[in-house]
């Protein structure tokens, strides 16, 4: 009769989430979670977060102008995304949900291409193999299995890459992440399950989602280390993820990370959060803003000056302009493309259907 041969303590999250930066920018060193970045790296984190916020705002504007059908903002979650994505190497893969603009920008994914999903120009329009950034995934939690399978593949192939998948607090309730973590634990796959606990699944608050002490406590049930960090502290999300990445790359298997953050915007532009949360709660959340905090830190270190701010503003504007140019009034493609890409070999399909559409287009002078 098998008995607990493994010490569960290594899997349980420590009592306190890893927190390195106070809101006022004060840095607390944690020997367990070193920040192995030089000054340029620290400034880069700030730059990426600020660019993310501006492009995010641009996307919201584009939606308001009727240019996007809908958009899911990542405002407030920049530190969670940028810090974690920055801890990966270029050849590592990310499997996102639908809210990871910040992670995408770290990987230099074409943001306009990404947003075509929300415009509805095409379902996805960036090349996942170019930036090692998977397709955005709308069915909740499903991408966790793709990340796990990909990591299984890398391990079989003796390729020392790591995969990371993002999902939300709500996503932890679905069966798929559960199965993904089960597989990853058994196979020791080099995958990191990065949960952005932004306190809500649309309108459903965390306490209606789970009775777990913390989300990170789920990890022990899969034999994964469960880690927590202050998700609005970009140094903490970076350092905690880096440690997990190093561990995975060394062949020691997967890690579950819960980043405590807050969704400062509506769930999507279609949502009306006034129905389920108060202004007081929002005001409180604003005091933990991840970007202000990092700026305070850089200032304390004398790494912040108007030159940096100007440069970042400039870059942010550039990306935002690029996105706007790529999206605004972007024409839809050839409707005949609907029949492409369904099958690599379409022999036997679409009998008469192509002709039907072609005839309709011709009749409407759209052919």
């Amino acid at each position: 009769m098998a008995d607990a041969a493994i010490d569960p303590r290594e899997f349980l999250p420590p009592d306190e989430p890893v927190h390195l930066l106070d809101p006022d920018g004060t840095y607390h060193e944690d020997p367990e979670h070193p920040v192995d970045l030089d000054d340029a790296g620290l400034r880069e984190l700030y730059r990426l977060m600020l660019v993310t916020r501006k492009v995010d705002r641009e996307a919201i504007n584009l939606q308001r102008q009727g240019q996007l059908g809908v958009y899911a903002s990542c405002m407030g979650q920049e530190a969670a995304q940028v810090g974690s994505a920055y801890a990966l190497a270029e050849e590592d893969w990310i499997f996102p949900s639908y809210r990871e603009l910040g992670a995408a920008l770290v990987r230099q994914v074409d943001a306009a291409g990404l947003l075509h999903l929300y415009r509805g120009t095409w379902l996805s329009d960036h090349d996942p193999y170019k930036h090692h950034f998977g397709l955005m995934s709308i069915p909740i939690g499903t991408q966790a299995l793709h990340a796990t399978g990909f990591a299984m593949g890398a391990r079989l192939d003796n390729n020392p890459i790591v995969t990371m998948t993002y999902f939300g607090d709500g996503g932890t309730s679905e069966g798929d992440p559960h199965e993904a973590m089960t597989f990853a634990g058994v196979m020791k796959s080099p995958v990191i399950f990065f949960v952005q606990n932004n306190q809500y699944a649309i309108s459903v608050p965390l306490e209606k989602q789970t009775a777990a002490p913390t989300l990170a406590h789920k990890a022990v049930g899969y034999g994964l280390p469960g880690r927590r960090c202050d998700g609005n502290d970009v140094l903490a999300t970076y350092a905690v993820t880096k440690k997990a990445v190093d561990r995975a790359r060394a062949g020691e298997g997967p890690t579950f990370i819960e980043a405590l953050t807050y969704r400062m915007e509506a769930h999507t532009t279609s949502d009306d959060p006034s129905r389920y949360r108060t202004q007081a709660e929002l005001d409180e959340a604003a005091t933990t803003d991840p970007i202000a905090r990092m700026r305070n830190f850089l200032q304390q270190r004398d790494l912040y000056d108007s030159e940096l701010e100007d440069a970042v503003e400039e870059q942010a504007k550039e990306v935002a302009t690029y996105v706007r140019a790529g999206i605004y009034d972007a024409p839809h493609g050839d409707p005949m493309e609907l029949f492409e890409h369904v099958y690599v070999d379409p022999t036997g399909y679409f009998e008469g259907q192509r002709e039907q559409l072609r005839a309709e287009l011709d009749a409407n002078g759209e052919g």
Partner: protein, 323 residues
């Protein structure tokens, strides 16, 4: 008074909950938010959190617990937030909800009504415009209803909840804002009956849910061409009201089926198969199909090219008449 289809369903849920305290409404965001389409608006406020509650984000969990609640004696009305998110619950629906009454020789009854907003045409992001009705209609043990008007939305929802069989209730989301001048409560034909919405003599057009209005528009346009279309709103996809379909085809001699779902093995396949089986000598032309294509649902900017519309219906009418 003008009410929308969404309001009609909301009122149906409200009235069912008032009349029978065993009726429970639950799902993702149906409580405080009132549902992403506000179809469950104020139910929690009016009936307490015990009777209208938010669940964790897990569709198999929602349907599986609905089955347990029904076994206990409740009449659950769970919501699947969108068509494309019913798939995680497929096993609970197909292996248990559809089968348990039969397995138990009728001892276990499962009066569960699963509400699913379905279909396209609203410019939504992917997985939010699916038409999964054929999956359910192929599954013995389920009833599948879909209203095409606010009146039917109210009346069929009341009937579905009152019924002891499990019902998949498909709400045509692009018609949530469709208005009708009517007083609620209203009682229309029983749900398993198809209804002739417009009489005609040349071609029978079988449609349901979101396509009822489109078919009516097509009939209007066809009249300008001198073609008389009979529009039959099927209302129930399982059971199919074959007698009403046959009676119509026997009158017109021609039939077209309209639906958003992909053509292959969509409802049109079964309807065509039945009509030719049972009204072989009445047919002057083959039963034709004006449907979505055999491709994944397209991106929003291209959906107008994919979805059947008045033109596609009229093309089929013309083709039918050419026989």
């Amino acid at each position: 008074m003008a009410i929308t289809m969404a309001q009609a369903i909301n009122q149906a849920l409200h009235d069912a909950m008032s009349e029978d305290e065993r009726v429970l409404v639950f799902g993702e965001d149906v409580g405080r938010l009132g549902g992403v389409f506000r179809v469950t608006d104020k139910l929690q406020e009016n009936f307490s959190e015990d009777r209208c509650f938010d669940t964790p984000l897990a569709e198999s969990g929602i349907i599986g617990t609905a089955i347990g609640l029904a076994m206990y004696g409740f009449r659950p009305v769970p919501e699947m937030q969108f068509d494309g998110f019913t798939y995680p619950a497929f096993e609970q629906i197909v292996s248990h909800l559809a089968k348990m009454p039969n397995r138990s020789r009728g001892t276990v009854k499962l009066p569960v009504t699963i509400r699913i907003p379905y279909g396209g045409g609203i410019g939504a992001v992917e997985h939010h415009s699916e038409s999964p009705e054929a999956y359910w209609a192929h599954t013995a043990g389920l009833k599948v209803f879909t209203p095409g008007t606010p009146e039917d939305a109210y009346s069929m929802m009341r009937a579905a909840i009152a019924m002891d069989d499990p019902v998949i209730f498909l709400e045509p989301k692009r018609r949530y804002w469709m208005k009708s001048d009517t007083e609620l409560p209203v009682e229309t034909e029983p749900p398993h009956k198809a209804v002739v919405r417009r009489e005609g003599s040349d071609v029978s057009v079988f449609c349901y849910g979101p396509m009822v209005r489109t078919a009516m528009e097509a009939a209007e346009a066809a009249a300008d061409e001198g073609w008389s279309l009979e529009v039959v709103d099927l209302r129930s996809l399982s059971p199919l009201d074959t007698p009403t379909m046959l009676a119509s085809v026997e009158r017109t001699g021609r039939a077209i089926v309209v639906h958003e779902a992909a053509q292959t093995l969509g409802m049109g396949a079964e309807i065509a198969a039945r009509i030719q089986e049972q009204a072989f000598y009445s047919l002057e032309a083959p039963v034709l199909r004006a449907t979505g294509y055999d491709t994944p649902y397209p991106p929003a900017k291209l959906e107008e090219f994919w979805l059947p519309d008045v033109d596609r219906i009229l093309d089929m009418v013309e083709r039918s008449l050419s026989y």
